[in-house]
Subunit: 186 residues, 2 copies
C-alpha cells in the first residue's frame, strides 16, 4: 500500500459532477451548490482554495479499520473501481458519529458495526453495482468523521436507496449524530 | 470523548525538555537538537513555526485502535497521567511501520500486535511507573506513523529500557521499518 492519500471534495460553481440535491438526514445540512470537484493529493499538501460560495470537505483514504482478512477477500473479489463509464450517478454521504461511539473500545465498535448491524455484509450485497470509497476525516479536525463516496448506474439508484435505508435502520446508526446525503450526476 | 487533539513536538533551541540523546534504532536518525517543546491544539490549526535548526513531528491523540474493553478497563485502573512531579525523564519514540503492515486487515494486525507480540500486556507490566501517550501521525502525511511519548522517574529508566527491548524483540517489530529513540530530562 502506498502512503495515505487526501481527497478534497470542493462544492461550488465548478467541478466534474453536478449536484442534484443535498438532504440533511440527521442534524444540520450543507449549503446548496451547483457542482462538486474531487482533488487528490498527499495528506500534508495545502488544501485547494475554496471558491465562494461553496464548501470543502477532506478525508484520508488509507488502511482498513474494521474489515477482517476473510471479508476483505470477498470484497476484493466482488467490488469494482470508481470511474466506470456507466457510473453516471454518485452520492457523497458525510457522517459524524457521537462521542459515545468514540468512547467505545475497538472490539465494542466492531461488534456494533458488524455482529449487530451487518454493515460490511449488507454493503457486499450491493456489489459490484454500487462502487464506493471511504475517507477518514476525524483526525483532520473536520466537521464529519467519515465521507463515503458512491458511484453507480442510474438503474442502480433504487438499490442504493435500499442499502442506505437498511444501514440507517441498524443499531450502528444510533451512534450517528450528523448525516448529509449529497446526490450527483455526471 | 472530546474531539481529537493534535500535539506538535518541536525540537530546537527552546522547550520545556532537554534532549539527552537521539539514537537511530532502525533506519535514519533525526537531527540533533538541544530542547523539545510540546504544543497542543486542534487538528486543523496552523502548525507552529519551526525554529532553525530543528525538527517538528505531529500526531493526533484520539480513540483507541486495537484495545478491547477488558484491556482498557485494566489500563484505566493502573495507568497514571502525564505531568507527574517525579517524572523527570521522558522519551519520544517515533515509529514507522512497513507497507506490509498497512496491507494487513484489522484482525491480522491485532493478531500480530497482541496474540503473538503481547504488546498491550507487556506495556501493562510497566504501569504505573512508565506513563505514556500514543499519537497517530500516518494520516497527517508525516514521516512516522506513530509517536509515543513516555514519562517516568529516573529510577524507572532501567525498567523502561527492558520494556523497549521486549517489544523490539517481538514479531510486531518485524513490521517496523523506521524507529528513533529520543531521551529527555526535565
Amino acid at each position: 500500500m502506498t502512503r495515505p492519500t487526501r481527497i478534497d471534495f470542493l462544492a461550488g460553481a465548478e467541478g466534474a459532477w453536478r449536484i442534484e440535491r443535498i438532504t440533511a438526514v440527521i442534524g444540520p445540512t450543507l449549503p446548496d451548490a451547483e457542482r462538486l470537484d474531487l482533488r487528490t493529493g498527499p495528506p500534508d499538501a495545502a488544501r485547494p482554495p475554496l471558491g465562494a460560495p461553496g464548501w470543502r470537505l477532506s478525508g484520508i483514504v488509507g488502511h482498513l479499520r474494521y474489515t477482517t482478512r476473510d471479508e476483505r477477500a470477498i470484497l476484493s473479489d466482488r467490488q469494482e473501481g470508481l470511474g466506470r463509464p456507466n457510473s453516471t450517478r454518485a452520492a457523497l454521504i458525510p457522517i459524524r458519529k457521537s462521542p459515545a461511539w468514540w468512547d467505545l473500545a475497538q472490539d465494542e465498535r466492531r461488534a456494533i458495526l458488524e455482529d449487530r448491524s451487518r454493515h460490511i455484509a449488507i454493503g457486499l450485497e450491493y456489489l459490484p453495482a454500487v462502487a464506493r470509497r471511504l475517507h477518514h476525516s476525524r483526525d483532520l479536525g473536520e466537521p464529519f468523521d467519515f465521507l463515503t463516496w458512491f458511484e453507480f448506474a442510474p438503474e442502480a439508484e433504487t438499490a442504493f436507496d435500499e442499502l442506505l435505508a437498511r444501514l440507517r435502520a441498524s443499531p450502528e446508526w444510533d451512534y450517528v449524530d450528523r448525516e448529509v446525503d449529497v446526490r450527483l450526476y455526471d
